[in-house]
Symmetry: C2
Subunit: 493 residues, 2 copies
């Protein structure tokens, strides 16, 4: 499953800002020096000898020979180097990529291009090769993306199919029904959003499922942020699986399938759920590194794979939910970081804490956000202050959206995951529907950032996907009205 050779016959790299620092455009060739990006050399060492590697570099003046000379001994890692200046065709043209494939004798569907910008990606798509983003920690990133993140990669390469014109089509249909125009209020807005996603003026929600991801948080090992012991995470995992938790009951009433995945609980409680455990919970986010980048990417992969599996099984609306003692702290930190909001405005009482604990929790969130490196990308932020179940939900959200499936968000933790998902892949945004506005203060800020207004406002603060399970019957009913109501034209006929 993690076998590079079984998937690819070659890996192509963009050069500037993918493997080496981008040179200033005006620097003369003979004054150019090479600065390898962190992890790039290690990544090339890891890959070398397994499959042929190549460079496809957009250049205006450099030749392949210039590049080889500049790279020095590391040039030996590459079977071929293509410089677009020599071809007269620059990315996003697929020609330079095709030239590299021809030289290597590799079919496009067996090749991967690693790049750092939309031109690289467009060139990959046009040439029919797979694409992976480079980034600040190239070694972990390509290890994860190439070797472990098949579903996530498919998701990021996905079509995210939707049709904005269907909003008007649905509105026209709604306006023609036997009721005053607009009188179903925000349910009509929800129908229009579903119409865009499902590419029909009469969308539907069934079959619906809620994917629940469960993991522990190092921050909950003591009572700094929550009085609940960590073992409750695994107990609730089993209670959900046993059909006796809140989400089990509410989803049953709503005819929503419940899927539970353990992304990393502490060991101890015998498990009956799908095991995708990546770690024994996260490290304490006070350490500045709740997860490694690799763990975060692995958890994203678990989520994306879960979305693929449920959708392959027939799911047409996918909600996300979670259990993880301490995860409102991680969610608050993510919301603070990704929405640039002060810790005090996003930190709440979670499952119920006293004033002293709230004050302590707020300081922990503030310090965690302050400790993030300048310019940290979203994977970095997720890894440092997030959680395994949050990463999995983000992957699940991207995965569902990439396949054209509406995603129903639950409360504040899922909203934090949605912020991660949208930061990682902005094409995810139109597929989100907010079930409810949580009692947690960060919820409003996250929703605003996501451009969403929640359907329900019931002061829920339970998680698990409960709010999503409550909202799905509303969406189902609104879709039924759109489909089944008499039209005004029909009544006047």
């Amino acid at each position: 499953m993690y076998d590079l050779e079984s998937r690819f016959d070659a890996v192509l790299f963009d050069l500037g800002n993918t493997l080496v620092a981008q040179a200033d455009p005006g620097v003369p060739i003979d004054e150019l020096t090479v600065t390898w990006l962190p992890g790039a050399e290690a990544a090339l060492d890891a890959l070398h000898g397994r499959v042929p590697l190549a460079i496809v570099s957009n250049t205006t003046t450099l030749t392949a020979a210039d590049i080889a000379r500049l790279l020095g001994p590391m040039a030996d890692r590459f079977a071929t180097i293509v410089a677009t200046a020599e071809l007269g065709e620059h990315k996003p043209s697929p020609v330079p990529v095709r030239v590299a494939l021809e030289r290597l004798g590799v079919r496009p569907e067996r090749a991967l291009l690693v790049g750092d910008n939309d031109s690289d990606r467009a060139a990959a798509l046009a040439a029919g090769v797979h694409f992976a983003w480079s980034g600040p920690d190239l070694h972990e990133r390509i290890t994860a993306q190439l070797l472990h993140a098949e579903a996530l990669e498919r998701a990021l390469d996905g079509a995210f199919p939707h049709d904005p014109a269907m909003a008007d089509a649905a509105r026209t249909r709604l306006d023609g029904l036997a009721k005053p125009a607009g009188s179903l209020g925000r349910l009509e807005d929800a129908v229009c959003r579903l119409a865009v996603i499902e590419r029909t003026p009469t969308p539907m929600v069934d079959p619906a499922a809620v994917a629940v991801f469960v993991a522990d948080h190092g921050i909950a090992a003591d009572d700094s942020v929550t009085p609940w012991p960590q073992v409750v995470t695994a107990i609730m995992r089993e209670t959900i699986a046993g059909g006796r938790a809140a989400v089990s009951v509410l989803a049953r009433e709503a005819q929503v399938y419940v899927d539970v995945t353990d992304v990393g609980t502490l060991p101890g409680v015998p498990s009956t759920v799908r095991d995708a455990r990546i770690a024994d919970g996260t490290a304490d986010l006070r350490s500045g590194q709740a997860m490694t980048r690799l763990q975060a990417l692995q958890a994203l992969e678990v989520g994306a794979a879960t979305a693929e599996r449920l959708i392959a099984g027939g799911t047409r609306t996918l909600a996300v939910g979670e259990v993880g003692m301490g995860n409102t702290t991680a969610a608050a930190a993510l919301i603070a970081a990704l929405c640039d909001a002060p810790a005090a405005t996003v930190t709440g009482r979670g499952a119920g804490i006293d004033d002293a604990t709230l004050a302590r929790k707020t300081v922990i969130v503030a310090e965690a956000v302050a400790a993030l490196p300048d310019g940290a990308d979203v994977i970095e932020v997720l890894a440092r202050v997030g959680g395994l179940e949050i990463a999995a939900m983000a992957g699940c959200i991207i995965g569902a959206a990439s396949l054209g499936i509406p995603v129903i968000l639950d409360g504040v933790i899922t909203q934090a995951a949605a912020l991660v998902a949208v930061a990682l892949e902005p094409r995810t945004a139109p597929f989100l529907i907010a079930a409810h506005s949580s009692a947690e203060p960060g919820s409003q800020i996250a929703l605003q950032h996501l451009g969403l207004r929640a359907l329900l406002d019931l002061s829920l603060r339970l998680g698990e996907g409960t709010g999503a399970a409550l909202a799905i019957p509303l969406l189902r009913a609104a879709c039924a009205a759109t489909r089944d109501m008499a039209t005004i034209a029909e009544l006047l006929a």
Copy 2:
């Protein structure tokens, strides 16, 4: 059905403030004069000769002979007069009532006492006789209450059974479930309210029904307040009955039975629904009298009878809904009058009107409220500015509450009906649950007056019972969670 003799063998009357103006306590007997209340003599004329009539008057000094002398020739209307001073027993003691019954040779369950205060009512209950309120227009009132308002009378005499202690019992159960205390937010409050009504810590909502009442409004005969022609009321009545209206579809999705009653549409559209038509719509409320008191009481009776019928058929949660072109105007006037709110704060755009129409509608509401007589009782207000379907909903609400059944309010029209119901019978209040907060501005004011907070806030403004149909699945799910979730004790065992 309207046959007095088949129901009663005697009618007893309180005297002061029921038939004649109450004398000042200090006036010497020989200076007393009789002032008959409006309609009292006409009522006695109408009843005389059909069944024996009697007076049971609380007096401190007057004898029966004094009373007979004071009443003059009208004393002949009465088969007997009981003066409590002569018995040494005063209402609410049942003794004076029993003495009257003994003299008449009538069994308690075959007698009716008409009175004006709680002592009269308590005496009636204690003696086991039926009771009817007197009031400013006694003729119409007793005609309606005695001859036409059996279900309403049963409702007003009902037990309104509920158990406030069950709120704590439900809260204790909820707090013991496998979730943070209070984390189901306002759904937990709703469960506690249902628990009080259903007298169990684990309430349920099924089977649920929505009683839809349909009637026309004279105010909608021109386009003063709405662009919709009146015929739309009957068209929508048939569309609901045909299963193709919004409430039909939403109720079907929510597994809620839809019952439709025509309380007074304009003729023209062939009807397939239950016919309880009281008039060809109301008169224009600008005339100062949308309905007669009798019509209002008849419509209340239709509603109370509908509640009885649905509950006898198994309904355990009863929602109300309506159709009536122009009825947001009537609802606004009722809310303004019963909540003492300025017309501008309660008048809205209904199904959708322009600024000019809104301004005109606001003036109409303001003038209608200003034209109400000082000290008008709620029946008077209902008759002058309300509507047949609103009166029917009020009767239905009282009827359901009297039988211990929770009542789910829909939007602003139903909330106006609830204001009428609570004004008429304050014991109705604990049985109300607000499904949603309508887009109409009066909705907030009515809900506040009723002490309710709505579950949904979706900017709905459709009516028909649609909001109630959407809220019932939420209540059902909350009840299921209360009943089926694991308890913390169980998980720790």
